[in-house]
Amino acid sequence: MNKVIIIDDEILARSIVKEYLQKQPQLELVAECGDGFEGIKAIQQYQPDLIFLDIQMPKINGFEMLELIEQPPAVIFTTAFDEYAIKAFEAHAIDYLLKPFNQERFTKAIAKWLEQKTTFTETATQELLETASQSPSQSNRIVVKNGSKIKIIPVHDIFYLEAADDYVKIHTPEGHFLKNKTMNHFEQVLDGQQFVRSHRSYIVNVQQITRIDPYEKDNHIAILRTGAKVPVSRGGYGKLKSVLGL
């Protein structure tokens, strides 16, 4: 028996999936969730094999929710209209259902999943998330997990980002948070006019910089409003100068 969870903020959208699921005896619905927070809890609790996930949801969207789950289950997205997301789906082998969809289309998606269950792996989901998180609507906030709590960081609040092994440390007014992503990822996602990769291991919010001092030979150091010091390499100094218009 395969366990299934539906995550959608519209009750009727959940009920149609529920209705279609009745004709799939091999699937058992274990939970229904109205937003991403409930979704994360339910996924941790039930360890489902498959989730139906809406994208536009309150507070955190479907992609952001997936980012916070360590080993995300197989996903079939259900969405009404989101050009960007659809492109992301098509690039990766994950199926999606465009609302409204009928029983036939639904059955097909399930069949596809059952067939490739073995190959329908995490990597596909990860790749999808990587593509999806570059959509413009996502670049103005970052969602992180802090213990069991979920924190939404508006990007303009960020002081700077720092590489820390497999993670990136995000420094904000409320302390720092870790996110399981690469520096390259953030360099791509964040607005280049506001965030500059000043150093291999640092990305700095230029609006926070009060001054840039020389430091050892060839290097500089950026002093932030908070007093924090961020290393600036030679290449990084050039980038900073061009963004700041010096």
Binding site: E10, L12, S15, Q56, A80, D82, P100, I152
Partner: protein, 345 residues
């Protein structure tokens, strides 16, 4: 503020050459009448430099204060007065510096009328040139504004077409209907009707049309009812219409994007129940509409929340009334408020 003609290089060169010619001509003329060369040059300089000053003064005044068609008489009087002042000033200076040259004083007195005529002529020409230049500048600016407005209107038209269909809203509503067909067919039928009425209203109405508030609220109610089916208990609305405002007018389809924005902002920024409030009142003859929604100040800056929907409303209001102050947003604690003022024509 329009650019000064002196910022155009060609004009500056022509103007300077003309002035040099004038000064040389003045000196040569006097020399022709048997004045010593030195006296002729001094006379030319003393007469023409202050005249240049007066001309520049007039030019600068016109730059900041372009006279209308009905004020040309004033300009003429101003030119005469300025010429007289200039003449008195130069006469005093000339007497002071050139008295030593024989019968210069008598010549000066006899030539005053000619000096006046030439001075008036030069000042008049420069003034006319200035007026022409700045009028032309203003026309060009108006032209630019017109093309801009036309371009905006075209863009808005395209945006409107796409917006009219509201794909996200439409497909989600259809999905809700699809679900209702299975569980509560009567409600599905009702929602099909509401959706049709709403779409018909959107397509039928012209953006240039003015409707009264009650009509617009009825149309809005269709939209809200559909959204309530979609979001169930999460969405509640409170609409308070002051009686005096019921028959007041507003541009068609103006309110819906504002409410849509409030719903999206409210619903997607909080997880609990979202109350959307709409209040209207009459103030100094204007129709005031206030729409408010909750938001989470911790996770979203209100700036991001204003979104594209409100921007297009603001543009429309500007195109209609040429005012930027008609749409105001405010974020206070956890309530985001949009206030629209509609002047009554």
């Amino acid at each position: 503020m329009p650019a000064s003609p002196f910022s155009a290089r060609r004009f500056l060169i022509t103007f300077s050459i003309a002035w040099l010619v004038l000064m040389a001509d003045h000196a040569i003329l006097l020399y022709w009448f048997d004045f010593p060369l030195k006296a002729a040059i001094v006379d030319s300089i003393i007469s023409n430099i202050p005249l240049l000053g007066v001309c520049l003064l007039v030019m600068n005044t016109i730059r900041y204060y372009l006279p209308g068609r009905e004020q040309y008489m004033n300009i003429l009087i101003m030119c005469i007065v300025l010429t007289i002042l200039w003449l008195l000033f130069t006469k005093w200076l000339l007497e002071l510096s050139l008295n030593s040259f024989g019968d210069y004083e008598e010549f000066l007195h006899r030539s005053l009328i000619i000096r006046f005529s030439i001075g008036f002529l030069v000042l008049g020409i420069v003034t006319m040139m200035g007026i022409n230049w700045f009028t032309w500048q203003e026309q060009q600016k108006n032209e630019e504004r017109k093309t801009d407005a036309e371009k905006l209107a075209k863009e808005a038209e395209l945006f409107k077409l796409r917006q009219q269909l509201q794909p996200h809203f439409l497909f989600n509503s259809l999905n809700s209907i699809n679900a209702l067909i299975g569980i509560r067919p009567e409600e599905a039928r009702k929602m099909v009707q509401q959706l049709s009425d709403f779409l018909r209203g959107t397509i039928k109405k012209e953006e240039t049309q003015w409707v009264n508030l009650l009509e617009e609220i009825q149309y809005l109610q269709l939209y809200l009812d559909i959204e309530k089916v979609r979001f169930g208990n999460r969405l509640a609305t409170v609409i308070e219409i002051e009686e005096a405002t019921q028959q007041m007018k507003l541009p068609a389809l103006l309110l819906q994007p504002i409410v849509e924005n409030a719903i999206k902002f409210g619903l997607y920024d909080t997880t609990g129940e979202t109350i959307i409030r709409l209040e209207t009142r009459k103030q100094e003859g204007e129709l005031i509409i206030k729409v408010s929604n909750p938001f989470d100040p911790e996770t979203s800056s209100p700036k991001q929340g204003t979104g594209f929907g409100l921007k297009s409303v603001q543009r429309r209001l500007y195109l209609l009334f040429a005012r930027h102050d008609l749409l105001v947003t405010e974020a206070k604690e956890n309530i985001f408020t949009t206030v629209v003022k509609i002047p009554q024509l």
